[in-house]
Symmetry: C2
Subunit: 348 residues, 2 copies
């Protein structure tokens, strides 16, 4: 019999609620012969308040032993901005070399979009996850004085760019439309921009069947709202990917539906799966959170581990559930009820 | 009699066409006793191809003698990415210390927006113009090899942040809603982010009547499409401002209507006014470009120089012209015809 050892980080706010539904659906969809073992990790605002720890070495070590990590949400207004983001979430992504931050965006029928005319939207953003402006490189001098200088350094390496660009080409090649768009700002950020563009062009010569395109990040935001159907696969840096995927979520039914995977394709470390949304402390504990983004993240997890049929069942269940909603249905059902409905669908 | 000495940089692509309309409307609206003197500067792709120059010292010196600069658009695919942007456009913004990059966004009645339900949109972005990731700081090592490392350094100073934050508070204070939103990413870019947030909070104590708000840039893009009416004045850094203002333009009738002002509030150097759109080489010379963004930039120019009534006349003329358009009218009229119509309106 097979086994799946899953590290679970419920985290803060609505994190525990949505993770519970993700696990419910995972349990319902897994083949009988797969033994699911979960280990919960107490990480986030609560732990930090109690112990001052964000992600101690012992936890990092223990996380390593798992096949994958499911994370709910991290962050609370009571913790100074940056402490948990840098000390926990980004630390995980960097320590486990999650260089492919995968964020699919699909406008399901019958879901709300702020865009008039309901364009077809079905693209995936491959966001670099271990470099760029996210490296924590920088500092401040004469902090808090009128003479303060603060820097942020975006670090980009051929090593880091090439591996994520290769991943993106492979993904584009596996999709029917075979189109890959690089998003950067190479007319201003010329050093990083040219590195990205040169590698993008060079690797592209190995994929003559993939249509390529380059857009500045500012122009890309325009197309996200005016012509989102022009996108198939997008590859971009850590910061641009952060911005674009929130916008993508907004135009495809909102952040309540946006799933993400932090993947280490080399499988040296466990990959991590999390909804794009945050901890939403204002609605925590009220059963109001939509667990769909977490459930879709579980589908990405299953696909990463080779359970393709199970991943597809979850995605079909979500599509069917969304098709049955009207504008108000999501709020009419509790977090638990949506999880139950999805669990029933994947099991049947 | 008064005089207005204007430096004109038509630039590339549709630049000359739209600038011609801007000047036409400017001439029509200026009081009789104001003598308008224009000096055209041959800068852009053509000049670079002929001489290899982007912005020589002599031109910079000559530009300094003017009350303001009107710029059409810069850029052509025949010029390597970054050459004209860094060597001309950004060089001007930096040399003339245009630290307030002002970009109003208003959804006029009857103009096309990709957003369903036509929300009320009337906000202005105060984008920092002389710091951040735009300083050209950075470099690349072992360029073009598999061992390449490329950096981009975002430089932020208390000096630079405080002056633009003060400008934004003053603008918010002068508007009916008196609301100011800071956009940054201070949970990741902690050094620059905390500098911005601390100064924003400190200066805010001098403006108790101004309501303040902070958003991460990724969340801000969501609100731009789901709740744009929550914004009044936004202050943000150079790169985030670049991204957000293209998105803002997209949701308020498109880049053909988005005006911008690169202001040196200290008036040590001439301020520069330009449409947000680029040179659009694909439609250049065909009379297809909408000159409205340039005409609205002329209104910002007039207001900067104290011609408030004339600025308002232009804005009313544009509103009236837009109200008379249907979805297809813009394309049915040539660049010249739209300019003529606006000139007639402001003169009457
Ligand atoms: C919470 C934050 C550090 C994170 C990021 O910026 O990557 C989030 O916005 C995301 O997109 O996963
Ligand atoms: C052309 C480019 C350098 C410029 C910028 O990034 O500032 C443009 O996008 C803008 O917004 O004015």
């Amino acid at each position: 019999s097979r086994s799946l050892s899953l590290a679970v980080i419920p985290g803060d706010g609505i994190g525990p609620e949505v993770v519970a539904q993700g696990l419910k659906v995972l349990t319902a969809v897994l083949p009988q012969d797969v033994k699911l073992e979960t280990t919960e990790f107490d990480l986030g605002a609560g732990r930090w308040h109690r112990t001052g720890e964000t992600l101690p070495d012992a936890d990092l070590e223990a996380l390593k032993g798992h096949d994958a990590i499911l994370l709910g949400a991290i962050g609370d207004p009571s913790v100074p901005s940056g402490v948990l983001e840098r000390g926990l979430l980004l630390k995980l992504r960097f320590a486990f070399d999650h260089y492919v931050n995968l964020r699919p965006s699909k406008l399901f029928p019958n879901t709300a979009t702020p865009l008039a005319g309901r364009p077809e939207i079905d693209f995936v953003v491959v966001r670099e996850g271990t470099e760029g402006p996210y490296t924590g490189n920088g500092g401040s001098l004469r902090t808090g004085t009128p003479a303060e200088v603060a820097t942020e350094v975006s670090l980009n390496t051929a090593y880091g760019v090439e591996r994520v660009v290769r991943d993106a080409y492979a993904r584009a090649d596996s999709r029917p439309r075979k189109k890959l768009t690089l998003v950067h700002k190479n007319n201003v950020l010329v050093y990083a921009g040219h590195l990205w563009k040169n590698i993008f062009d060079r690797v592209g010569r190995e994929y003559p069947q993939v249509t390529t395109d380059y857009l500045h990040v500012d122009a890309a935001t325009i197309f996200f709202v005016t012509q989102p159907d022009r996108f198939d696969v997008i590859v971009t840096d850590n910061l641009f990917g952060d911005i674009l995927t929130d916008l993508a979520a907004a135009v495809t039914g909102g952040i309540g539906l946006a799933a993400s995977a932090n993947i280490n394709p080399d499988r040296t470390f466990p990959s991590m799966f999390e909804p794009v949304h945050g901890s939403a402390p204002d609605i925590a504990g009220q059963g109001k959170a939509d667990p769909t983004a977490t459930v879709l993240s579980v589908a990405l997890l299953l696909r990463h581990l080779g359970f393709d049929a199970e991943a597809a069942r979850i995605e079909e269940a979500v599509a069917a559930d969304l098709a049955g909603r009207d504008g108000t249905a999501a709020s009419a059902r509790t977090t638990d009820e949506i999880g139950d409905a999805l669990a029933v669908r994947v099991a049947s």
